[in-house]
Amino acid sequence: MNQLSLHILDIVQNSIKAKATLIEINVDENPAKNIYSIEIIDNGNGIEPEFLKTIDNPFTTTQTTRKVGLGIPLLKQNAEQAGGSFEIKSEPGKGTRLKAVFLHSHIDRPIMGDIAGTMTILIASEMHIRFIYRHSTPLSDFEFDTDEVNHELEGTPINHPDIIKALKSLINENLDMIEATLT
């Protein structure tokens, strides 16, 4: 997995499976502190402490179709390879908070890639979940909230291809305006 946007798409599947109704994704770019971090917070079922202990083990999974689970181990490995850190905290019944920190200048920091595509796939597939995406750069902040979008759409389905295209444009234009580092 060579893009942070793919890791985000992957990790959020865990939140979806945990029946979250609110998923927040926070990206923080801070070249002055040499940090590029992603944080995913959900209000899902949470993870039992016993399971959490072995969460970064590739042989830990809730899957029934296969015996390995590589989503978290791959993200952790990428973060650590890029001089960063990985942390996951969870409380059963309340939700989970995961944070992966990368050194901004590190050659092994994966690029963000097509985050707009990640968000639109999630939004179109999981219409009952509220997604909030925040991206901050030294220049400014961008916040995208599907609740606000749905309010503006007044019942027009958010998964219509034209709306998806428009949302992709909305996210990309705004990230461009705050000079987000995506590549």
Binding site: M1, L6, L9, D10, Q13, K17, Q63, T65, R66, G69, L70, G71, L74, D114, G117, T118, T120, I121, L122, A124, S125, E148, V149, E152, L153, E154, T156, P157, N159, H160, P161, D162, I163, I164, A166, L167, S169, L170, E173, N174, M177
Partner: protein
Amino acid sequence: MKVKSLADLKKIKSDVQQKIKLREQGANAENIVQIKVAMATCGIASGAKEIMNFIIEELDFRGLDGIVTQTGCMGYCYAEPTIEVVLPGKEPVVYGFVTRDKVMEIIDKHVMKGELVDGIIPVSYKTIDE
């Protein structure tokens, strides 16, 4: 058109609503194809995200109504990206090793004409330890 704000989004909303009205008159809402793209770690690492976006674009380009969503790992990690195609009233069909070319073939033949194409993972397939 470039969409920069929620106000811009609001402008295209009425066009979309108009389109939906037109399509609803022409087609039965239950009569549309459903395509699920396996979007677990194995799928994503093999390019499922690009494939899903491509399917949405291609259906739209051909003016076909369809529901494209993501699903979990179906256990065919070796054959990712995998997609499940469900035509109205028909059994689900799972395709493996889906590329952009395969998507075009599946839409042209399977979705539009109901003909099965190469690359189907048989329902009888079981993993070794089952």
